[in-house]
């Protein structure tokens, strides 16, 4: 579905990604783990077109279409139209917009009013708190509620590929559990996911496969279960002695 090959990405004067190879297949949850500053967010920003690789390709093939598109040639708006949504680091809901407006703006490119209304109901049934707070400004929600809103907002575009940047960041463990359960449900309902996490144990538990990044390179990849059992990973990322 998604295939990044040899991506070299600069941010300003800084060479951040030194040739990344990464693939996500239809239906998978793929985790991307690594220490702070490894370049995980940069990978996601490159996929959604906010950054452009100087070299390498970001190929994406939506289900049912035979021709892959090179995302590196598309604008972020067009990439949303391809069925890719990013739930950004630190949630970044629109604080001054109401909860409902935040959800509706997730469906900005869609014109199918009836289906949008149905999806809105569906998101609210997953996250009832968003229904209760529909008219409040999003800035008044708690961190966990904002995370739910950010996920709900990204679902409103009906993504085929959902990119999640550290959904556990700054949240209490029970809330993280609840959110990961919902992510699992969303995946089972047919949405492919690329999950960036520093919380490696949660991510490896949820994901089918995983990549480990260090300073702009992929250093390890494989089945999530195998990585979770790998002694090196356990020492570096899972806090095992």
């Amino acid at each position: 579905m998604l295939e990044i090959g040899g991506a070299q990405v600069w941010r300003g004067q800084t060479h951040v990604l030194h040739g990344i190879d990464l693939a996500v297949a239809e239906g998978e949850i793929v985790a991307l783990i690594g220490a702070n500053g490894a370049g995980k967010t940069t990978v996601l920003m490159t996929i959604c077109g906010l950054l452009r690789p100087r070299q390498g390709a970001v190929r994406y093939r939506a289900a049912g279409s035979s021709e892959p598109v090179d995302l590196a040639r598309l604008t972020p708006e067009a990439i949303v139209g391809q069925g890719i949504a990013l739930c950004p680091e630190g949630r970044q809901v629109f604080a001054s917009l109401s909860v409902r407006e935040n959800l509706m703006i997730g469906a900005y490119l869609r014109r199918d009013r009836a289906a949008i209304a149905a999806d809105l109901d569906h998101v609210v049934s997953r996250f009832p708190i968003l229904g209760e707070r529909a008219r409040q400004p999003a800035g008044s929600l708690s961190g966990g509620e904002q995370m739910m809103l950010a996920i709900g907002r990204s679902l409103m575009s009906r993504p085929r590929l959902l990119l999640l940047d550290e959904p556990s960041l700054g949240l209490a463990p029970q809330i993280v559990e609840a959110i990961f359960d919902i992510l699992s449900d969303i995946n089972e309902a047919g949405t492919t996911m690329l999950l960036v996490e520093q919380n490696a144990s949660m991510a490896l538990e949820l994901a089918h496969r995983a990549y480990v990044m260090e300073t702009g390179r992929v250093t390890l990849s494989g089945r999530a279960q195998d990585l979770a059992d790998n002694p090196e990973i356990r020492r570096a990322y899972l806090g095992a002695a």
């Binding site: 959604c48 906010l50 604008t75 972020p76 708006e77 949303v80 139209g81 949504a85 990013l86 950004p88 970044q92 629109f94 604080a95 001054s96 917009l97 407006e101 509706m104 703006i105 997730g106 900005y108 490119l109 907002r153 575009s157």
Partner: protein, 297 residues
């Protein structure tokens, strides 16, 4: 004395209507691109000359004049965005300030070349200056039309901003441009909409100015434009309701300053306006309705 005070308040509301219409554009544009368009006041001048051309030269009726001013104002705003602001997207803020100052000077000088610096009288239809009978103060029909048109345009704007898909995109873009793009919003179009709408309103303010004061010239937009900028800052630059509030407060304050103090102080009215700005900023650095300093990446 009360009727004198009432008269001053009415005059303040009329002046405030014009300041508010111009201030809105400053705030809308700043809200999205984080730049002050110093050529914004000159669009009011262009609106005034458009009115002159359409009404006196072409002899068309008032509703057509208003429509023409809206269209020409919007087109000027789009042109300024395209020529001066778009190439600077992502550049340091100061580049944008200096460029828009240059655009302002350019517009004024081209206007002087084409139209001469000589002020011109604009003869609006006589019925506009008919006095409303039976009032203790002097109000002409044109005064009422100015305030009514200003309020109607502002209500229309508030409706667009709060109730439409475009308005939602504008608010989202103003809050976080990158995340707005991730929603599929074409921010270039949103920026163009802000320039077009804000500039159309400034054009109308120029039309009102010429209808009320009867004289226009190529640099007429400069000082009122600067004062409308002050109004926007007082209201909290970036906030549309703030710009409206700031416009009316400044119009009232300026007229009352001149009207209530002994005549020898009247010459200080501009100093008073800019002094008010300094005072407000000392007490409320973000203006009356502005948001706290933002931490945009």
């Amino acid at each position: 004395m009360t009727s004198y005070l009432l008269q001053q308040i009415v005059n303040g509301l009329i002046l405030g209507s014009m300041y508010a219409l111009v201030a809105i554009g400053f705030s809308m544009i700043y809200g999205i691109v984080r730049l002050i368009n110093f050529a914004h006041g000159d669009i009011a001048m262009i609106g005034a000359f458009t009115a002159l051309a359409v009404m006196i030269v072409a002899g068309l009726p008032l509703p057509v004049v208003i429509l023409a001013v809206l269209v020409v104002g919007a087109a000027m705003g789009l042109a300024i965005e395209f020529v001066a602001f778009r190439p600077l997207r992502g550049a340091p803020q100061v580049n944008g300030f200096i460029t828009s100052l240059a655009v302002s000077i350019l517009i004024q000088n081209v206007a002087i070349l084409l139209l001469t610096a000589e002020p011109r009288g604009v003869a609006f239809p006589a019925f506009l200056s008919e006095r409303i009978p039976g009032l203790p103060i002097n109000i002409d029909l044109v005064d009422i039309l100015i305030v009514v048109l200003a309020v109607a345009l502002m209500l229309g704007l508030v409706t667009i901003v709060n109730r439409t898909r475009l308005g939602m995109a504008m608010r989202a873009t103003a809050e976080n441009l990158d995340v707005a793009r991730l929603m599929g919003i074409n921010v270039s179009r949103t920026i163009m909409a802000a320039f077009a709408i804000g500039s159309a309103l400034a054009g109308i303010a120029g039309l009102m100015w010429s209808a009320r004061y009867g004289q226009i010239d190529p640099i007429m937009g400069f000082l009122p434009g600067l004062k409308a900028f002050v109004a926007a800052v007082i209201g909290g630059v970036g906030s549309i309701p703030g710009a409206m509030l700031g416009g009316y407060l400044l119009g009232l304050a300026e007229v009352l300053f001149v009207g209530l103090l002994p005549p020898e102080y009247a010459g200080y009215r501009d100093a008073f306006v800019f002094g008010t700005l300094i005072l407000v900023l000392l007490v409320l650095p973000n203006g009356l309705m502005g948001r706290a300093a933002e931490d945009r990446a």
